[in-house]
């Protein structure tokens, strides 16, 4: 897919998709709730570490009010520079390989997860919402689109050496003060970094380090660095992300069906199954 196609598409549908509109949650109640939450201290576990638990998003879901975009620019100012992406750092061979791939090769179209995450947020995987559940020994990150989970022990154990490579990698955590540091390795080479209309394949040498810090009761800041010496010229420093605590405490469980997708592409809808 070319940049031109993106631009054409953007122009074509710009009038149809407006995200400045009402969501499912009454605005006044949401504001009151979030202001109250912001004034509250950072929740902490019995061990004194911050409790990262909660549903986190950018202030809205895709297509709804509050979905956080890029920072607003100053009128008249030059357009901000596009942040560097994973695939911007491809080695020459990887760059050449990326030219023969396109959207249709993205594994997420077959209900496979990403290795990192859409919108530069690992917690999202694919989508714009994720949930963290923290226990005294584990931080568990749950993703919505494909029912993904990541169990992150932080009791000092090393990476497991008895598990096969996985789509989301093997994770271990540790506390650096109030910052939760997550180290992931042992990925398969079957997935892409994200699902944003951009080719982002990686190798099984992918290694990610993420740093989660709860700035206040309602704000989570995430920094990350990804290295993949087989495909990148240097590590990718992911743009810092700031998420908000969502006004609900449970993500959805929604089906993903590759068979259905292909059936629809073939214009032969599957038999009615009662789903609605």
């Amino acid at each position: 897919m070319t940049i031109m196609k993106h631009s054409m598409m953007t122009a074509a549908v710009a009038g149809t998709l407006v995200w400045s509109s009402a969501g499912a949650f009454p605005l006044a109640a949401q504001q009151a709730s979030t202001e109250k939450a912001a004034a509250a201290p950072i929740p902490r576990m019995a061990d004194g570490h911050p409790d990262l638990s909660g549903v986190w998003w950018r202030g809205g879901d895709i297509g709804g009010r509050g979905f956080g975009g890029a920072p607003r620019g100053t009128p008249g100012a030059a357009a901000p520079q596009r942040p560097t992406t994973f695939s911007d750092l491809y080695q020459p061979w990887a760059l050449a390989h990326s030219k023969v791939l396109a959207d249709k090769h993205d594994p997420t179209v077959h209900c496979m997860p990403t290795a990192f995450g859409t919108l530069n947020v690992s917690l999202f995987d694919v989508g714009a919402v994720g949930q963290i559940i923290q226990t005294p020994k584990f931080v568990v990150m749950l993703t919505e689109t494909f029912h993904g989970f990541q169990i992150i022990p932080f009791d000092g154990r090393p990476h497991r050496d008895d598990v096969p490579p996985s789509y989301r990698g093997d994770a271990v955590g540790r506390w650096d003060g109030d910052t939760f540091v997550v180290d992931k390795t042992n990925f398969t080479g079957d997935t892409w970094i994200s699902a944003e209309g951009r080719v982002s394949f990686h190798s099984d040498a992918l290694h990610t380090v993420e740093r989660y810090r709860r700035l206040d009761a309602k704000t989570l800041e995430i920094e990350a660095t990804l290295e993949d010496p087989k495909v990148l010229t240097k590590p990718w420093v992911v743009p810092k992300q700031t998420l908000q605590l969502a006004p609900f405490d449970q993500i959805y469980q929604l089906a993903c069906s590759d068979d259905d997708i292909q059936s629809f592409k073939d214009a032969t809808p599957p038999a009615i199954s009662g789903k609605n």
């Binding site: 953007t10 074509a12 699902a195 929604l254 214009a267």
Partner: protein, 133 residues
């Protein structure tokens, strides 16, 4: 046709008028002809709230052939639709609807949903209800 059809689906995420950048999550442009708007009127056969995107299946009377064509319209991610106020069952089999969208590049009976209007006038977009928006 299986295997030849582009397996691309997904949403274009645009924050209009907010000064925000446009995010593309896959590409409708690869799958649908944005220069080919379409409008059909028919009866809902099935609504599937599924990842990564939802589908509305509609039986449409073909005024040229007299046959009933079964159309499939791709909508937004179900989580986005639900959090924007869409409720399962609010549009169901048998409901009469009018759908505006864009024609698939590969199929005469598939499209991207831009707007769905029910018989009683409720309007839904790619990501759910349009009321109060």
């Amino acid at each position: 046709m299986k295997g030849t059809v582009s397996a691309v689906f997904a949403a274009v995420l645009i924050a209009v008028g907010m000064g925000a950048q446009a995010w593309a999550h896959h590409s409708f442009a690869a799958e649908y002809d944005m220069k080919h708007p379409i409008e059909v009127h028919g009866v809902i056969v099935q609504v599937r709230l599924e990842n990564p995107h939802s589908w509305f299946v509609v039986d449409v009377k073909n005024s040229t052939t007299g046959n009933v064509d079964r159309w499939s319209f791709e909508a937004g991610t179900p989580s986005g639709m639900l959090r924007n106020g869409y409720r399962p069952g609010v549009i169901k089999a048998g409901d009469e609807v009018t759908i505006k969208g864009f024609q698939s590049k590969d199929s005469d009976v598939r499209g991207m949903l831009r707007e769905l209007v029910t018989a009683d006038g409720h309007v839904y977009g790619l990501f759910g209800p349009q009321e109060n928006r």
